[in-house]
Assembly symmetry: D2
Homo-oligomer: 321 residues x 4
């Protein structure tokens, strides 16, 4: 079979390498180029035994690609998206720049696949969701769509991420000697960049609720666990049934009886979700937990899911479950 | 100086060993015996270069001790507390058995030192607080004492603990190969044993609020971080000032401008607390974070703090800061 | 295509689960049963989203399997191997029982695939090599086959393994709280069980040399790195060329210019080998380093490689590279 | 008691901070200044609850210090040593610059305390040993002093270090996400800088032997374990007795019956050493293992041990055991 050529800009970061690794094993897509401005001409392992050789982002042959993934740093995407579009390529952008709530001016479909699959299919440019919003919104979607959250309530999202979420740029606080045997919260006070994205999605779903988001840094390489407290309009007899019904047939969503663990989702393009009614509180409240691999379902895997849709392929093509 | 003899029952667990290590360095206390039923006659390292040799708990010379620490498993303390009292010793019990909310029948003072110091000083038996309640209640105390929490609200406590909190009894799910690169929630749905203790303390402080507590298991050996969301009666202009004022002069409490990290409290008998007003929510809400070493301030260190009070010594004697 | 049924005895340990996970994805083999005496009737995740339900080892339908993998504890294999053979199944035994140097009485081919491929192909029972010997012997084979090691010399093998090598049976010294931030040697003094297996292979290759083996326990879940010092008969001008030539065409052996890292082989059925001449010593000496995933190339992966040969399939069928 | 003022240059690195933390608790020394060129004016935690505020190295009031610790990067020490001497201060230099085998032109005593205590006492400048040589040479000293190593033999030193040995300067390969669940060798081929220092010491002890040193990077923050293979002139009946006798009365050296573990030496100024005769080899051979905390006995602790000697204090003053 002739493979469809696709390219990656910003291929040297964690998400970019994960994407390259997925593309090198893809049955229907071929990696046309891997761009990395600072490492052009160099080779790098991208998982398993595979290596890629980087070209400069500015020299990447955009017109030879049917689709371009932009995995550039936040703030750097816009010109490359424009160029790729001008060259006739579709685009999946992994930066925050085009996501809802981030003030981006390029119209892009929001790429939370299991929510907006049909919109994505018809789009030319997709803004791939952030890692925290992916876990959080997939966990909340069944509640929000059915209007089950108490009006005016605050949804409390406590989430913890592995350090690859902070990228490969070396900073002293990300050294092994600083992270091992450590754990802390950051962006405390509801100030994290991903909040706007969550709020925009919640608002789009018509919910009159606040979101209070506190991220934490875990001493693990990969994975996000979100523990979400949701005040309900009224008690829910069998919480899991709601998720099972909403996500029936979804191959990348797993509903579990007990809280998921990072180990269960590592290197897989899935979100695992559980939900339990809280005892010993007078307000009916659910505790919803969701786990993803931040580099797969939270970045490169979901990006590929979206790319498959944009290119008319099977949504699951080339994705590890 | 003649040292006061004290003993430890249940000395072979994590908290028991930590206690022995502290006692061996204590300027005014001498370790009269270290009891461990299953390891009697054996020796073990208890930190640094120090070793102890265990006697059976049942053969421990209780009448030679001015005070006995019971670090026995939950449910096993009561007869030993009775025996130690009969032998004339004061008792600090580290199990859950005598803590408020746990239905214990022996009257014991609740050993959250910075809250109930005066009561502890006059007591014969002290129930040492659980590790999660220590971090949580010290974080909440200034708010609860001043009645600042919104009536009828739910305080959301998300906390994560290192694995020593689960003890030294080997279970497959605590093996290194299972815990490394992993993270999960447990006791989800507000069912953890420590909840009753927190609720009892909150009620004793006169607050009409619920507590929703979700613990997590961290891939670290030691440390607890509690991230606590508190709906307020009204906004608080300078949150940190409240804690700084309440805890002025406390040598084991540190108030920090940003969220504390486990690394900052490891092997120390301190709690570090921070508090930030949440932006982007309509209800005035604080995010309070607190970190302790679960084996020191959350167990052996606080037990020693209480023992010092019971024995008329300097509260800080022999405690690492 | 009709798949060939194969079974696993001892399927609940680390190697057994890894095997089940591989078999569930195998293009030509079907998992007929997964035996685990102590967990019969229970289900367990075996990697990714896959689960298996265990039968008792004694109730496993051996006669429905063309091949049986025995992943039972050392010492427990023999009767099951006999039974499986009686039922007409071929056997790959992952225990130490049938390996050379271990005094086993059942004749079995030694399953170091890249060394003894042709013998294995014609065998009915294969003794799958130990994890340490796999890394060590594949590293040494090119030197030993060509008689390049100095006569009467001692080959010094220092190796370090992740904790899954010690199995899933819970022991206090394997708890996360004991292994994290720790490292030590064990079996010091050349007493480890795997030594006999290495010595037997070295002798079979006609080398008059000693092996001095010191294993270490690493704070990682998976992987073995062997660092091997080899006194040579005479200097070797381009060491890597020897390995490249010997292993040309081998798809599960990678020769690297610098020392391999565990991360490069995790979850893969490969050994990565490098070799460097030692400067600053008067005796010509090589430092050879080799890395494997102890559960894949060091256990389940190599077992499947051998099973593929026994069943006349492509050697690489179902194996992750 | 009036405390003696001492200063630290290069105080912001791992060793410098460890030194500051030790000095802040020292009973007879006062920290006069903590120099850190790039962070002058900033404050940092240096362990426990203590913080220091840095001055520029060039503005440090050298003439107010009786002794200056130079913890500057390798290559940068010389001018500061000269300046400190000109200001009348004694110097303990933690860089490699003045160590034997490194071609330094300033005459300095080699600060392996338990070997050269008397020389150090009379010196003005001490070159503090490297971390690997500290563990290795203290392990070998009893053998070398007694001439027990086989003539012309190669001593094989395999050692593994925690990542703080590589410093606080951020590099991608030291990020948590790269080091966790990883392990590799580096400087393979006997090329590491510390080799010259080991060779110089071995030669000074009159031994006609080679050293073959292979370091490894461990996924732990602190600690070095050296596993050393030593061909002997003739068998040694009770190996441990040799170390016990040589180091009798040494408070910072512990001889153990089984191989030491990193956990046993963390945060302590000790080396733990064990030795075992190798079975199954024809040449009489010992396997000697030694563990230190690379930042304490391997750097700041030993530096303070030496400073105590230079200043006429108790050698153990202010040192954690």
């Amino acid at each position: 079979m002739h493979k469809i050529p696709v390219g990656v800009l910003g291929a040297s970061g964690y998400a970019g390498r994960e994407l390259c690794a997925l593309l090198l094993r893809h049955p229907a897509l071929a990696l046309a180029f891997a761009g990395a401005q600072g490492q052009r001409g160099q080779s790098a392992r991208v998982g398993g035994g595979a290596t890629v050789t980087f070209v400069g982002n500015d020299e990447a042959p955009l017109d030879g690609a049917a689709l371009v993934f932009c995995a550039l740093p936040h703030g750097a995407s816009a010109p490359y998206v424009t160029r790729a579009r001008a060259a006739g390529a579709k685009v999946v952008d992994l930066s925050a720049d085009l996501r809802p709530g981030n003030g981006g001016c390029t119209p892009a479909a929001y790429g939370l696949t299991e929510w907006l699959r049909d919109t994505i299919r018809g789009a030319d440019v997709v803004a791939n969701p952030g890692c925290y919003p992916t876990a959080t919104l997939l966990a909340l979607l069944p509640l929000l769509e059915r209007g089950l959250v108490a009006d005016g309530a605050t949804i409390t999202v406590n989430a913890a991420s592995g350090v690859t979420g902070a990228g490969l740029t070396p900073k002293p606080e990300l050294l092994f000697g600083e992270v091992t045997e450590n754990f802390t919260a950051y962006g405390v006070g509801n100030e994290h960049r991903h909040l706007a994205e969550m709020r925009a999605a919640v608002a789009a779903l018509g919910a009159d609720v606040d979101v209070l988001f506190t991220p934490h840094l875990l001493p693990v390489a990969r994975g996000i666990l979100a523990t979400i407290t949701v005040p309900l309009r009224e008690p829910l007899a069998e919480p899991l049934a709601l998720w099972r019904e909403r996500y029936a047939g979804e191959q990348f969503i797993e509903i579990t009886a007990s809280a998921p663990a990072l180990r269960e989702v590592a290197h897989r393009n899935v979100v695992r979700i559980s939900a339990t009614s809280a005892a010993n509180v007078r307000t009916p409240t659910l505790v919803v937990t969701a786990a993803i691999d931040n580099l797969v379902k939270g970045a490169a895997g979901q990006a590929l899911q979206n790319a498959n849709l944009l290119l008319g392929l099977e949504e699951s093509a080339g994705l590890p479950t």
